[in-house]
Each structure stands twice: as C-alpha cells, then as structure tokens.
C-alpha cells in the first residue's frame, strides 16, 4: 500500500470539513435536512458493509433502525428507565436479535435471503401497528428530545459524529482479517469454508455489527424527529437506503454516506416536483448502474487516484455450482 496521501483521501477530508462548516453557511431548513441525512447515512453505510462487503442482501435493516428507536423510547417511556440505561440496553437487544437474524439466514442467500428478511421486516412493522397499546400503532410514539431548545444544530453534529464513529468502527473491522473473510464469504461461501473460514461466525459478526449501527441510527432518529411510526419500516424506506448505497458505492463505506447525503438532498431539492422526484431518482439509479456500476464515489476515487477499475459488484443471485449436481 502506498504511503502518500491519495486524492480520494483529500476529497474525503474536504467533504468532512464542508460537513462540519455547513451549519454556519446554511439555514435551519437545510440543517434539519442534513441532520436527517445522517440517519440515512448511518443506515446506508452499515447496509453497504452487510450487503456490499459481506454479500448479505438483507431487507430487514430498517427494521433494526425501528427496533433501536422504539426500544429506547419504550424502555424510557413505559418502564421509566433513564436514557443512559435504555440506550445500551436497546443496543444489547439489537446485538442479540442481529445474532439471531444472522443465525436464521445462515443457509440463505440471494433472493431467498432478501425475501426472508423482507418478511421479518414486514412482521415487525405489523407488530408495531397491531400493538397500539404499547407502541401507539399508526398514531406514532412520541419521543422526548435529547437537547433543550428548538435548534437542530446539536442533532446535526451528533448525527455527523455518529456517522464518523460508525465509519471508523466499520473501517477498523474491515482492516482486520474479518474484512478479508467477509469478502471471501461474499465471493464464494463454499470456497471460504474450504479455505478454513468459519462462515457461520463471520456472518453472525457482520449481522451483529450492522444491526447495532442501524439501531443507533434509529435511536438518533427517534429523539431527533420526536415521533416514531411503523412507516419507518415500509419497503420504500428500505428501497431508499439501498438506492443511496448503490448510487454512492455499495462496496465503499464513505461512498454510501455520500450517496445518502446526495440522494436525500436531491429528494428535498426536487420536492416541488412531487412524485416525479422519485422517477428522477430512479433514473439516476439506472444511470449509475449503467455507467458507474461500483457507484459514484468509487468512480470519482478511480479518477482521482488514477487506478484501474475494480470488477463490478457481484450479483446477489449465485448458483450453487457443483454442489447442486453431485456426480
């Protein structure tokens, strides 16, 4: 690995500086938009780790965000626990359920994994709707804020800090041998096993890590917005997170963050166009998939660092090869 600073690293540092300085330059509306974008950035980046690096195309990621939001809120509101206890307890629950999810989907891949996790998310959403005595169902659960005063600036910086921390933690994980094993599992699970990789353990590790980050995002979202509803688990929300990761770079954690910010900002800029903005975003997704299959950030990174293109991302649908046809 070269020791000199790459153009893409300079770009990342510049973008971080812009993000830090932005509240001084933009109005309250865009600060609010930015603070919300950090919620999606946390989800898109952690989903990029789960799907892009480890090949686990889960549709239950937003359900873990809702688990975080509702968990922390319900433990505080219904059980009267202090927030300092409710948050770690919620994260612990997310860890356990993330591990359970990882164990449940061990033998599933591609469309089967996607459908299974989609069903899990939908069941969770329906439970939130049905248990209205506890969750207030579709009316929404009111959540107290974290900061006094009406400004969104503290939330903006809290969200930004969480995104930076999550990126550092996930990058740290990827720099270890676990990162290499996750990519090997994504490429070919059977070959990884034949190479001595404990695929069960590593799948559970990645589900736990990404579920906790999704739960953190949900906790942040709940306290920031002040109301939680089962709508945060609907399929279009998951689709939005996937689109953000894919547009930014499904195999690039900073790329997914940039994708989240760009897509969310665009959806706000294009708000006047009503439903047409989603058509335009869909078009953007198609164009990125056609001309920059690895996503926008790796595309820019490649230009800045003058390096050859990496192979395009793997298809989530993979045959079972010779195992399917024993001879």
């Amino acid at each position: 690995m070269s020791s000199h600073i790459k153009g893409s690293q300079v770009l990342q540092a510049l973008l971080l500086l812009v993000a830090v300085a932005a509240p001084a330059l933009i109005g309250p509306y865009w600060i609010h938009v930015g603070a919300l974008a950090w919620y999606y950035a946390l989800l898109a980046a952690s989903w990029a780790l789960l799907a892009g690096y480890a090949g686990q195309f889960s549709f239950a990621h937003v359900a873990f965000a809702a688990l975080g939001g509702y968990g922390s809120a319900l433990l505080t509101l219904r059980l009267g626990l202090p927030l300092a206890l409710a948050i770690p307890l919620t994260l612990l629950i997310a860890m356990v359920l993330g591990a359970l999810m990882g164990a449940l989907v061990l033998r599933l891949s591609g469309p089967y994994l996607a459908l299974f996790t989609l069903a899990i998310a939908e069941i969770f959403r329906l439970v939130l709707v049905a248990e209205e005595d506890i969750t207030r169902g579709s009316l929404g659960l009111q959540v107290p804020g974290l900061f006094s005063g009406g400004s969104d600036v503290p939330y903006y910086y809290l969200g930004l800090g969480l995104v930076v921390l999550a990126l550092l933690a996930m990058n740290g994980l990827l720099m270890t041998r676990i990162g290499l094993f996750l990519r090997a599992i994504r490429e070919d699970e059977h070959a990884a096993q034949a190479s001595g990789v404990n695929t069960t353990l590593h799948k559970i590790i990645v589900f736990v890590a990404t579920s906790v980050i999704a739960a953190v995002a949900g906790i942040y979202y709940g306290h920031f917005i002040g109301i939680l509803s089962p709508n945060m688990v609907i399929l279009p929300e998951m689709g939005l997170v996937i689109a953000m990761a894919v547009i930014g770079g499904i195999e690039s954690l900073p790329g997914a963050v940039i994708g989240a910010v760009v897509v969310y900002a665009l959806s706000e800029i294009l708000r006047d166009y009503g439903e047409w903005r989603f058509v335009l975003l869909g078009l953007a997704l198609i164009l990125v998939q056609r001309f920059a299959q690895n996503g926008l950030f790796p595309f820019i990174e490649r230009i800045l660092d003058r390096r050859p293109a990496a192979p395009p991302p793997a298809s989530p649908v993979r045959g079972e090869g010779e195992y399917a046809n024993p001879s």
Partner: protein, 251 residues
C-alpha cells in the same frame, strides 16, 4: 497422537450419501498411507465428486466414518476439515473472483489466528513462486485463464499446508502446456510427502502421476489397486467405457 507408520493415515469407512432417495454414494471405503497419491476415476455420475465433498466435509455422510491421522472428523463443519488438514480444489474453480490473487491466498493463511499478516503474506509469496504467479499477485482472480484459475486454486489449497489434498479434476479444460505444469506440480507435491487424491477423466494424466487407482461406478468403489491392473479389470472397462475397445481408444 500421530499415526503409527503401519496404520492408514486417512481412512474412509462405509460412507453413504443420499440425495432425495438417490444414492450418490452407495458405499465407499478406502485407506491411504501417509504420502500416498491415488487416482479416483469413474464415469460421470459415479459419485466421485460427492465422495470428495464428503471427505472434504462439505457434505455430511448419512453413515460411515472418516479418520485423519487417527482422529474421527465426521460431523465437523467444512472449515474445521480444512483446518484439520484437508485441502481441496473444485471441479469448476471456486475462487474469490473479485479479490486479487494474493488476497485469495491470504484468506486460508489468516484463518489460523496465530498467523500474522506478515507471515501469511510470506507464505503467499512462497506459493506464488511455486505456481509461478509472482507477476499476477495483484491481478483480480476473475481475470485469470481457466488453467491459471486451477493453479491458483491449487495454491490456495496449499496455503494451510494440508496433510490430505483432494484435487477434483485439476486437468479438465486446461491448455496442454499448463496441464504439463500442473502434472509437474502434483509430482513435486507427492515427492514432498503430501497425501493426494486425484480425481480426473484424463486417464493419461492420472496415470502419469499415480500408481494406485480407485474406480467408482454407480456410487460404489468397484476396483482399487495398481493403475495398470485396475484399468485392465473387465468390470472397470464395462463400467467406465462400456467396451474394452472404447477403453483402449481412450487410454
């Protein structure tokens, strides 16, 4: 405890595997001494690859036992088979295609927690030199030719220093020049004391490296002995090619 010199190093006993009522392996038993190299041949659908998958731990047998160096390893997950010393290649190469050649080699080495990155890379460089891939270290595995992919897979299997090496059709679809190279590598590994099971349809290539051949048909082992004798066995000829003439033509 290490295996006494006279005891088999590897033993598969009465292995059976069914898929949906069909016996892919109806019965398979075999013993190998340490450092021995054997060929495993048979017509398509005879159960060779399923047997390899059983021995590699990818499938759990319905019945039967597998011992390696005196230790029963049936029931362990596939990754534990690999760590216990069973290395394998696949009929169709299963590489980490969107990872570089050196990354492909680093994966097995790093599964041993005591192995540092530096040690893993040093071992990977050794293997790169062995398969003459030094110039391809940073190439993506998917960009390699079919024969190169087979060689890389062989290299990857060697990373964990396996005591039993299962090579599933290493010669299939390989350019004649690379085929010679693979034959040479297998001879070297055999001379270095690796215990090897070689599955292939290329009888010339198999005979060039093994003295003992096992033959399977309809999920059973039907012959086991010196290659020249086994290939003249009427039952083998019937099962493998249908007629003696066809067998002679092929061999």
């Amino acid at each position: 405890m290490p295996t006494p010199p006279e005891a088999p190093y590897f033993a598969a006993s009465m292995l059976q595997k069914h898929f949906g009522g069909i016996a892919a392996v109806a019965e398979f038993s075999a013993e190998l001494r340490r450092g021995e190299i054997v060929g495993l041949i048979g017509p398509n659908g005879s159960g060779k690859t399923t047997t390899i998958n059983l021995v590699a731990g990818a499938f759990r047998p319905d019945t039967g036992s597998i011992t390696l160096d005196g230790r029963d390893i049936v029931g362990m997950p596939a990754y534990a088979f690999a760590r216990a010393g069973v290395g394998r290649t696949f009929q169709v190469p299963r590489l980490f295609r969107r990872m570089t050649v050196i990354e492909n080699l680093m994966v097995p080495a790093l599964t041993a927690m005591r192995t540092s990155r530096r040690q893993a890379e040093a071992r990977a460089r050794e293997i790169l030199a062995f398969v003459r891939f030094e110039h391809l270290a940073d190439a993506y595995a998917r960009t390699l030719s079919g024969g190169q992919q087979k060689l890389l897979e062989l290299g990857r299997a060697l990373m964990l220093r396996p005591s039993l090496l299962l090579l599933d059709e290493p010669f299939a679809g390989v350019h004649p020049r690379l085929l010679e190279q693979i034959v040479e590598h297998i001879r070297t590994l055999s001379a270095d004391g690796y215990t090897i099971v070689l599955v292939d349809h290329n009888l010339d290539a198999v005979r060039a490296v093994v003295r003992r051949t096992l033959v399977m048909a309809r999920g059973r082992k039907i012959a086991d002995g010196p290659s020249e004798e086994v290939l003249q066995d009427p039952e083998v000829i019937r099962a493998y090619t249908g007629t003696r003439k066809a067998m002679e033509g092929r061999a």
